[in-house]
Symmetry: D2
Subunit: 413 residues, 4 copies
């Protein structure tokens, strides 16, 4: 029989971590003894537990400690973190530690060091000589990199369940088309206003339905008023936006009167060809060719845009990053500092962005398809709010809440 003592602190009863941890210990074949338990008085007060973990051998103990440390427990006398050297590019050493999207620390030389740029399903590179431990995807490993392996000396800081007073939290796991959404949208708008005033960062991740459904004007108003700090999208959004700007159609359907325009089915290709001829979207704006729409507004307002490629793309537009690994890196760079992410009507881009975000970022997923919203919200542990509603009405409501009356005329008409 081997044993180790762990500490668990925080909202461990509220957020069920104590419960889950004890379950896990038993399921893995171990046993436990609660040495001390102190329950927080108020909902926001931390609780604290000291628990002795028992296992039949060292291997089992090690597996249990890995598990519970992922759940936020600290081993009383932590062991030193271990690293191994990558023996070729793009491959981690055997037994590499695979990350979650929660804040993570490693124990080295008697202190806990935070891992930089945490993201799920990556490894941790740590070369003491070169500074902080850092989260990297498998493809970015280089021969000779020192990669964290095993389970010793690693701890994960559990996400705090938010209390009721805090923004958003009241619907935090709610995915339903039968809730009073206007209210929720008001709260999101309020938080966006705060973030704008605090110079926080709001990232929009949008699918082409933004354009088809006629939400373009509303999104432009949000951009002009400083509520969109990064736009992540794909070739389709750019194409239909520019098709609308140049020809007044989206997928050949007139946005004026909803009627399929004669020859309109080829407008999206004409739009792509025109921009390819200009050299880039940016140059099309400079040349006076592109004078309205979402892409135009981002260019003139200096909002960074990442257009990530997909196998269903026509064209594509010149700015589209056709290599998906490079596109991921571009999304990482732009999304990493986000305080809030709004994912609207795009499953592919939403999952991709969700993959590279730390859990602490507030995420809102909007789609008209219930199954899509559930799928997005279920992924990873990030604090996502799912809203089953129409993309167009969602964006328009945000514009109503956040933009001055003078800009809303065009949207309301």
């Amino acid at each position: 029989m081997v044993r180790e003592t762990i500490l668990l602190e925080g909202q461990i009863i509220n957020n069920q971590s104590l419960n889950q941890m004890l379950d896990a210990v038993l399921e893995m074949g171990g046993d436990f003894k609660i040495e001390h338990l102190e329950i927080g008085k108020r909902r926001d007060d931390p609780s604290r537990a000291r628990i002795q973990i028992l296992a039949s051998d060292k291997a089992m103990l090690s597996r249990i400690l890995e598990k519970v440390s992922k759940q936020g427990a600290t081993v009383l006398r932590p062991e030193e973190v271990r690293v191994a050297i990558a023996d070729r590019d793009g491959v981690f050493p055997e037994d590499f530690y695979s990350t979650t999207n929660l804040e993570t620390e490693i124990f080295h030389r008697g202190r806990w060091i935070a891992v930089k740029s945490i993201e799920m399903d990556c490894g941790i590179r740590y070369d003491e000589a070169r500074g902080e431990p850092e989260c990297i995807p498998i493809i970015r490993a280089k021969k000779g990199d020192r990669i964290v392996v095993g389970r010793e000396g690693i701890r994960v800081i559990p996400a705090q369940r938010q209390t009721r007073k805090e923004i958003f939290s009241f619907m935090s796991s709610a995915v339903s088309s039968e809730k009073p959404k206007k209210l929720l949208i008001s709260q999101i708008a309020k938080r966006m206003r705060e973030l704008r005033d605090l110079r926080g960062s709001i990232v929009f991740v949008c699918g082409p339905a933004i354009i088809h459904t006629g939400a373009s004007e509303s999104l432009c108003a949000l951009i002009r008023n400083g509520y969109v700090h990064v736009l992540l999208a794909g070739n389709a959004l750019a194409t239909h936006d520019i098709e609308a700007a140049l020809f007044g159609t989206s997928l050949g359907i007139s946005l004026e009167d909803g009627v399929a325009m004669e020859g309109g089915h080829r407008n999206h290709l004409r739009a792509i060809n025109a921009i390819r001829r200009a050299g880039s979207i940016k140059r099309a704006v400079e040349q006076g060719l592109l004078t309205r729409g979402v892409m135009y507004t981002c260019v003139v307002r200096n909002v960074p845009v990442v257009l990530a490629g997909s196998i269903r793309d026509d064209g594509p537009m010149p700015e589209v990053i056709t290599d998906v690994m490079e596109a991921q890196d571009a999304m990482r760079r732009e999304a990493r500092g986000a305080d809030m992410v709004l994912m609207i009507a795009t499953m592919l881009h939403s999952i991709a962005v969700g993959n590279v975000l730390p859990a602490r970022v507030q995420s809102i997923c909007v789609d008209i398809n219930h199954a899509v919203v559930t799928k997005l919200v279920d992924r990873g542990s990030f604090q996502a709010i799912g809203i089953v509603t129409d993309a167009e009405s969602f964006v328009r409501e945000l514009a109503y809440e956040l933009c001055p009356e003078s800009e809303l005329e065009e949207i309301r008409e």
Copy 2:
């Protein structure tokens, strides 16, 4: 070999009826010869075909003639319609003619007579002595009724496919969440204004999501401004509306701040009990107990409401018709004169109302669930437009379009 000559007139190429009819003849084992075909010049101009139908025996010919006459063909020298006498209550004679929801005529004593109150899946009662032929559901047949049987002497007037210029038609079969809906809503609003001004009849069929999603104020504004002439709904809508009026919650969730209210889960039962104690919704209004909401507004504006019962009902509210056959009759009475029907967020009531409507009524089906909209639009042949969107934003947009600014404050806030 037996033969008969039929005539087919109208937009028979546009609406594929010629095509379908020729297919049908061949599939049933018959053959045809097109004696004359005259194609309409303009889209709206009728075409005209005279076709000889050939069959190997009289039975086959009869089956074919039945089929093609359902599709709108007229046999050149029509036979007399036949009736048989119902030998017990609630049962039709063998070989009864089962109706479509298209305008139908029977041939009797040398002239075509229109069938009253046409509705799908019914029979035709015709007692010359007592007047017009009339469509009746099976359960309403009485012993001794004369019911149309066989296929002779019956013709169906095919629905005209609408031309593009006509209202709504541009999206007439479109069910998609990716269309510019604002535009479509504007057209619906325009048509509603016309109907109001012409004293036409607009029927709303609504599910309880109207209340949960916060669309109640918008719907009340539409009622107050004369855009709702009949409301068909169920116990759940009335219950949650009155729950909201009395306690500020819907299914226990506060409509003010979206938070579940302490004890709120039983508010809907309390609402039901309070109204049952008052005797009826109407009396609750008279007693000053009920002072706001959809039910209240219908009472004070004299808008007829049919609340049809369902096996999932709690209570129910006193006005709910718990016998489903009686509820159908009540819906028939109120819906029959409709010019336009808006079916919002309720599959059960929408199908039920669709069942009793003639095909000529313009119907709009709104639901956030794509499968529901497809299912509704696919049923029967009525001119339904399907819109995949949020019930709340749909009703609110209608209110924005149709109600004076002074009434919109509360909705916008």
Copy 3:
């Protein structure tokens, strides 16, 4: 400041009840002091807490005690339950206690007495002279009935969260189309076999898609082999089943070759008329008119069937109970003793049956529409497992697992 001491016992950490209760106390304005907490060692071991509740006045204390007693806490010295007399039929007294679907007891003359036939959203009738307290829907209250009011002397036994080893529990909250369903179906089948052998009761709640999708043979095999003890359905299932038995079509589509049959659209009406003529489904079987299908098999195997009416019904079939309140009572009678309920491809009937079931009954909800399954599983607190899959393949898999090879030929062919 007033106070009261409560006890909470059971899997109160596992199932979050301690957590939720403390939250509730604070949210309602009260405060608490944990006097004693003893955590169960094993997952299945009970924990035990003694907690002092503090409130600023007696009214608040009473509200808090009502709330926590609904969550399973026992007040140390319980007060006597209170009753009031119904002053008219179909109406409860003011301040009536509204039930949950969890086992409930009332405290009377020094002992806790279990409430019979517990069901959510009802009241409790208790006349000591006449025996046990009993759960009744509002509509069944009679003038003079003694109905439980207030919150004193009532306690609710929380549902035990099942441990992993127990059947089904591993997916207990899982609603996903992306899980390995075959495995789950095997476990359901295993449980059905146990229940059959133990003479337990399995209730099927089925929608008409059972027939349209071709699952009829599989369901009949399950009935013949003793796996269906009650069938709850509506007119549509009976109609399309009998249409298939008499004419080989379902909604006019041939089940042999999937092609729409000539004249087939009226087969469902002909089926209804034929059965109405026979007098009832049972008599149609006796008369040799109906010789196959689900309804036939239920008749010859003496499986009770409740056909509940709906406003979308054609006909209806003679056995259909057209009054929805009577239909609810019939469902109650048949479903009450259920050990397991399978709800397949019907939202309306599933919700209706879910409403009358106690929480302890194992329920499985199957639908191809994700939103429907989520909605069903979210309702009430019953132990429902949601499966997003095809009704036909689900029923067929059950038949493969449970029926002898000799009966599967027809299904496999």
Copy 4:
């Protein structure tokens, strides 16, 4: 007033092309006179129309002729096709002709020449000196290429609507979860057997749900029995397949018992790392590391696999083509010769493959989500059959129909 005479031949009434064409002429402001119309006797017989088109000026006439020639009409004395020279790489000349996915011919030196490799939303490159006209995507245009422009001398061969006897056609536009699917699957299986025997080509396009839902064994049996000639998929399918082969889990969920395995969440990354270490999936098979599953079976059976990259990929696996334009070219190469394409549980790959397929290829789209199936079937004009069902049960049924009993044991167990 200018005029031109066109011919239209084929099933122009059946497939509505005459109807649509006359509509189009009027909508574009033109007029027409039917000079001759000969209706085919039998459903399969061609009809033939000679129509005079009138327009107010040459530009309008040209637009109309372009439109109607896309719909299959032939101008009686066709003009010579026109080309222009691309002035830079990756850009078409102004006024380029944008293709449909229907067979297309250009008129040059007095004869009609078929365009090679037709695909929607591309251009046509034609250098007489270098041979046949060829369809190319915009990105593949090279400076100096001769690209077809304008509308003269181009004709499109309309897809023939299939007659009822032909395989599949009976449900050709049917998207419903309420149809008897077993029958349809039998017909698909029959057609697959024919194609295998005729050495035709069957392409599978699969999403990772194939693995999660447990359909892997069934798919392997189909591969082993010669029913899968190309597999188009993404990194996720390969990853979860290999995760299942190496660790018995898919996304960390055990495929044996459905329970989340301890540490299982990182199995997919371990699988990727292991294959990256081996160098490729093929080499992992050669090294004896990978011994089962879909990827393994494709390697040992020499079934070509294209793994197309996506921004949501972890890893990726070495065979994944991370540049989306290169991935498209790879899909084109493999899919072009297809006789039948089955698209199962993947919207992204299905749309991408649909984009590069000519309309004549029989396509079957299977998904459990109704909206996805509708979206896929609505795209382009290809002959797609949509089936709303479970991926696992669909693939398993195919295996039951097509594979010898001896291979089904494992699937049935």
